[in-house]
């Protein structure tokens, strides 16, 4: 397959859009969180101001850090987060790099920011960061299994019931909404899978109740502890873009409906309406998966988080998988 040159043109546009949207959604997140705590809260553009400030601050590299690892990890985290967005349907467009990778690749790419954080933490030479990095790895090992079960079940369902060639391709999944492929039993199963995915979301994004790797009040920002200035700005950007990427993935798997399916529109109006509708869907997923959760709960201890993700969450995902398989094979 030869590389299409229009893709090369679109990649920077998509990356910048992703970063701007990530910052914007972080602003909404902080504002809504403040409103829920009966505060006025920062202005929505606050993340942009913070970013601008961090870029003009001094960038300190600790003396006993491994310098090239310490400096490269924020870049790797950010680029991996942006790369995920190029593989999932975004703003109503099909994935930019469809044909070059599929759902399995997305699964691995989503792992890279967390790994980069852990490696960056270990390389910084601070004990707080080491503790944070270990916690990050433990957390990753806990939620990754439930997450994979959700993804694989959906791919299996698509192979079994829909006549598409590549079941792991996100394009085929977003063309055939999963809800139409199942009976009542499978529908309940899919609901459970969605619930499991939403429960995995805070851990994947490192937000409360699973922000144990950062845990500001106990291990002084954990993996971030030695990062400052430009590197810190890149890390925060990576987290913001990862939030958008993960929400887009949830939308692509479970809510791939386009606005034009409900209201017939033509031309540029249809494109804009689809893009806005997509953003609304992403916002709804973020609201229930992250914003609403992180103002309502306290932090897990790392053993509690591991137990929760290996226990109840995994059980929900497995029951969902069993119901979907039962409904598909017998029904």
């Amino acid at each position: 397959m030869t590389m299409d040159f229009s893709v090369l043109l679109f990649v920077p546009v998509f990356s910048i859009t992703a970063i701007l949207l990530g910052l914007f959604f972080r602003g909404i997140d902080r504002k809504l969180g403040a409103k829920m705590q009966a505060r006025i809260g920062p202005p929505i553009i606050q993340p942009f101001i913070d970013l601008k400030k961090l870029l003009m601050k001094e960038n300190i590299v600790p003396e006993n850090a491994i310098k090239w690892v310490f400096n490269s990890m924020p870049l790797i985290a950010l680029s991996a987060s942006i790369l995920v967005l190029l593989y999932v349907p975004f703003l109503g467009f099909p994935p930019l790099l469809s044909g070059y990778g599929d759902l399995i690749l997305v699964l691995y790419l989503l792992m890279i920011p967390a790994l980069a954080l852990a490696v960056g933490g270990f390389s910084s030479g601070s004990t707080y960061a080491s503790v944070g990095a270990q916690r990050e790895l433990v957390l990753m090992m806990s939620y990754e299994f439930a997450f994979s079960i959700v993804i694989v079940t959906i791919a299996w369902l698509v192979t079994k019931t829909a006549p598409v060639i590549n079941a792991f391709s996100l394009v085929s999944i977003s063309v055939v909404p999963v809800w139409g492929l199942v009976g009542v039993m499978g529908f309940i199963g899919l609901l459970l899978l969605l619930l499991a995915l939403m429960l995995v979301m805070p851990a994947e994004l490192g937000r409360l109740p699973a922000d144990i790797a950062e845990a500001k009040t106990e291990i002084a920002d954990g993996v971030f502890v030695e990062y400052s200035g430009r590197n810190l700005a890149l890390l925060y950007l990576a987290l913001d873009v990862r939030t958008i990427a993960f929400s887009s993935l949830v939308v692509a798997l479970f809510f791939p409906f386009a606005f034009t399916e409900f209201v017939p529109l033509q031309g540029i109006v249809a494109v804009i309406a689809n893009a806005l509708f997509f953003l609304v869907k992403v916002f709804i997923v973020m609201f229930f998966g992250s914003i609403f959760v992180h103002v309502a709960v306290a932090r897990f201890r790392v053993d509690q988080a591991a137990r929760a993700y290996w226990g109840p969450v995994l059980l929900i995902a497995l029951i969902g998988m069993a119901l979907v398989m039962w409904g598909t094979v017998l029904g």
């Binding site: 809260g41 920062p42 202005p43 870029l55 300190i60 920002d221 971030f224 502890v225 030695e226």
Partner: protein, 154 residues
């Protein structure tokens, strides 16, 4: 992109150098929904590496001297130091005690003093506004210096 950006995004790190916890509680009060300093972009951070402002409370004890100096060194430039409470400003009730090496401005340069035992949250917020003004002045001075250097070159 000037120092002015700091105005709307001050990240605060809190150093306790032997305070009785009175001032510390008032600092926490300023962060609560009633005063809500986050609406000005002020945020409490967990490590000096992320901080723009050091809030120092307490008259510095001999044990805390090295730690205070180290935290000051760890904070990336540009930074502002605020001293909250009488103890940090003068020694307060611990004035001339054998175990003090403070007050704070003997060890590190201080930009804003907020007196009180403890100061009210309103006073702390006013102190932050003073810090903004100081940063603006610094920026203006920096601009003048640059302009003069440019003119000298020409």
């Amino acid at each position: 992109m000037g120092i002015n950006t700091l105005n709307r995004s001050l990240w605060v790190f809190h150093v306790n150098t032997g305070s009785c916890n009175g001032c510390d509680i008032e600092i926490v009060a300023a962060l609560t929904p009633r005063y809500d300093v986050e609406r000005f972009g002020i945020k409490l951070v967990g490590t000096p590496r992320h901080a723009d402002v050091l809030l120092v409370t307490g008259a510095v004890t001999r044990q805390m001297k090295d730690k205070l100096l180290r935290v000051y060194e760890q904070t990336p430039d540009p930074k502002v130091v605020m001293v909250i409470g009488n103890c940090g400003a003068t020694g307060g009730v611990f004035y001339e005690s054998y175990n003090l090496v403070g007050p704070v401005d003997r060890l590190i340069p201080v930009d804003v003093f907020v007196p009180g035992c403890p100061p009210r949250p309103e006073a702390i917020i006013e102190g932050v506004v003073k810090a903004w003004k100081k940063l603006e002045e610094l920026e203006a001075a920096g601009k003048r210096k640059k302009k003069r250097a440019k003119e000298a070159k020409e």
